[in-house]
């Protein structure tokens, strides 16, 4: 009945039964031209270039003015001076006799008498109470006042925006040794990696956020740009095509030395770092192709040394580039000059020794740090045995003694963590940049379950974080090419004299705990292996028919019992 209303919206499609529901049969056919529209030269004449072109653009904001006269609300203020109580109308309050008479009349009233008798009792109680004890005495006034609760904070003090309209993500930040300048490498790693337009990198004077002090013009986009800790004018950079280059600030933004492509990395050069050498001119670079190369800025025609990051099982195996692990993070500590550490794209952290002769000596230690790539790796500036890794939504602190597990870790975050660094002065403070634009500060001495401060610096993802050597300033690079200079509060950027001892205790305690767990786990594993080894000779491991029968019987018995129980319950 209702459908008749909708009849006009129905489209009927009739077909005979035999014509539909058939299997489709495709067949190969040669290409055939459906339509061909040849160019018509005579039409060319009809094309003319429009000149001049008129395009109107409104540059200013459009404004309008409008007047409204709203209905007025009128207010008057009036007051009442209430001096005397509400006397009855027939009594003249200026006549003392009349008022007295009225009062006496009430005094004779039953209600009055009862009220006073009733109230007097409780009133007396309170008066006596007041006289007996000083109820409102202030206790503990002689105690010393508690020092104010310390306030941890982090706020942006300066913002350095990339000049130009197309902003590209920041790939690396590097502070000059004296801390007055900041080198930022910008690169947009798109899938096809064609970089037709020049992708510039900049050096900022931190006092001037209006324009960069120097513009670095690399032949290819820079993925890493690091200051030389010895010479504050020299920088090295890793390029997107695998080359490494060297810049001198005194000579401008043009590259002064560039390694030839045939000796360069086969993948993009993601990390470069200066090493502690006599000349102060040597550095090393790492790339996802799994090779670490050492270079000398004075002669860039070929690398001075290289090492393949292939953690082989025995000394007899040869390391091959084919099996090498892609490197995503690089760490070097100048006080342990022959050692270095790398984080791989497979989530490993591998310790390296440059002086090693055999493959096992070259890569002596291996930690399974993360499930995904290791985004950041840094040794603690004071406790060199401990290092920080960032990856798979967590930040972890490791001890070199403890191979199996990290000793401290954060909870898994809801947003990706992109980079992490230790504060150089307050060595217990970890700075972690997040994908949601937050900078979180984890102080191991204060709280290990949550960051002490989380500051939302911007809405776009933060990609890089580098603290200033003074400890109070932190540079954070975002995916829109902007550097946010954040300032930490005094308590997050300075260290007390007891802090070192306290952190030693914490790290030692956690290390001990992990090692106990590790030993226990090893014990369990050994036991399991022994049991398996003992079990095998008897041929007991494979379930026989008898076992299966027993199990089946046991199962059916249990089912029966349960059914009985249920029946009883139903009856009950």
């Amino acid at each position: 009945m209702e459908k008749t209303d909708k009849a006009e919206f129905v489209y009927e499609y009739t077909r005979r039964r035999r014509e539909f529901g058939r299997q489709t049969l495709f067949e190969d056919r040669n290409a055939e031209l459906s339509v061909s529209i040849p160019s018509n030269p005579s039409m060319y004449k009809h094309y003319i270039l429009r000149n001049p072109v008129n395009v109107s653009v409104e540059n200013t904001k459009s404004m309008s003015e409008h007047w409204v006269n709203s209905v007025r609300a009128e207010y008057t203020s009036s007051g009442v001076n209430h001096v005397e109580g509400g006397w009855p109308k027939d009594i003249n309050i200026n006549d003392p006799e009349a008022t007295q008479r009225y009062r006496r009349k009430i005094e004779k009233d039953d209600a009055y008498i009862h009220a006073v008798m009733h109230l007097g009792h409780s009133m007396e109680h309170n008066i006596l109470q007041n006289n007996a004890v000083d109820m409102y005495q202030i206790y503990y006034s002689e105690l010393p006042s508690i020092p104010p609760v310390e306030r941890s904070s982090c706020h942006t003090v300066n913002v350095y925006r990339e000049p130009g309209a197309n902003r590209r993500p920041i790939r690396s930040l590097s502070w000059q040794q004296d801390g007055a300048r900041l080198a930022t490498a910008h690169a947009d790693i798109c899938f096809t990696r064609n970089s037709r337009n020049l992708q510039l990198s900049y050096i900022w004077d931190i006092e001037n956020a209006n324009a960069p002090e120097l513009t670095i013009t690399p032949p290819q986009p820079l993925l890493d740009l690091q200051y030389n800790p010895r010479d504050q004018h020299i920088l090295v950079g890793g390029l997107m095509n695998g080359q490494v280059g060297c810049w001198d600030m005194r000579r401008g933004g043009e590259v002064i030395a560039l390694c030839p492509p045939h000796v360069a990395h086969r993948e993009l050069t993601r990390n470069v770092l200066f090493i502690n050498s006599k000349t102060g001119a040597e550095f090393f670079s790492a790339s996802p192709d799994g090779v670490v190369k050492w270079w000398d800025t004075r002669n860039m025609s070929e690398p001075t040394d290289f090492m393949i990051i292939d953690p082989v099982k025995t000394n007899n195996d040869t390391q091959s580039v084919e099996n090498a692990l892609g490197i995503s993070a690089l760490e070097y500590e100048p006080t342990i000059p022959t050692r270095f550490m790398i984080g791989t794209e497979t989530g490993l952290v591998v310790g390296g020794n440059r002086k090693g002769k055999t493959p096992l000596e070259k890569l002596p230690s291996k930690y399974e740090a993360h499930l995904g790539p290791v985004y950041s790796l840094q040794r603690n500036p004071t406790f060199l045995k401990n290092f920080l890794t960032v990856g798979d939504w967590t930040a972890r602190v490791w001890s070199e003694d403890c191979r199996e597990s990290s000793i401290l870790w954060t909870h898994s975050h809801r947003t990706k963590l992109t980079d992490g660094a230790w504060n150089p002065i307050r060595f217990s403070l970890m700075l972690v940049s997040q994908w949601d634009g937050c900078l979180s500060c984890w102080d191991l001495l204060r709280r290990r379950t949550a960051p002490v401060v989380t500051a939302q610096l911007c809405d776009e993802p933060l990609l890089r974080v580098r603290p200033h050597e003074g400890g109070l300033l932190v540079a954070c690079g975002s995916s829109k090419g902007t550097v946010y200079l954040a300032e930490l509060s005094e308590n997050l950027g300075t260290a007390d004299k007891n802090d070192k001892q306290l952190l030693t205790h914490i790290l030692e305690r956690e290390n001990k705990r992990e090692r106990i767990l590790e030993a226990r786990l090893r014990e369990l594993r050994l036991k399991m292996r022994q049991e398996r080894d003992v079990g095998h000779p008897d041929g007991d491991s494979a379930p026989t028919d008898k076992d299966l029968e027993e199990a089946a019987n046991e199962y059916s018995l249990m089912v029966q019992q349960l059914q009985e129980q249920q029946n009883n319950q139903d009856l009950g």
Binding site: G85, E107, K108, M123, E124, N131
Partner: protein, 108 residues
């Protein structure tokens, strides 16, 4: 109310006087004022101007406090009010029709 109908008026009147005198005799008591629900000071040990001032202001305050208590819980009732100040304490005992106000010096 029915239980005190048996009391004779004259007997009770003297008892009231005695109660008030006893209250006044307590240590630190500076004044006693009894106010009716109209705000008229019925009995006062203070001078007229002061008792009028007290009865007006305290009457309003008591009414407000009574409303506060009743607003929070309609089954509840205000029974006593202490107003502590630096100089003295005002003890206010409210009844349905009358308010007994005592000003007590508690500084010593």
């Amino acid at each position: 109310m029915c239980h005190y109908i048996y009391q004779t008026v004259w007997e009770s009147a003297t008892e009231v006087e005695e109660t008030i005198k006893r209250i006044q005799a307590h240590k630190g008591v500076m004044g006693v004022v009894i106010v009716n629900h109209e705000g008229i000071p019925i009995k006062s040990s203070l001078d007229n101007a002061t008792s009028v001032l007290y009865s007006g202001l305290i009457g309003q305050l008591t009414e407000k406090a009574r409303n506060v208590v009743r607003e929070m819980d309609s089954t509840n009732e205000l029974t006593f009010l202490r107003v502590r100040s630096r100089r003295h304490e005002i003890l206010i005992a409210p009844d349905r029709e009358f308010i007994l106000i005592v000003i007590q010096n508690t500084t010593d």
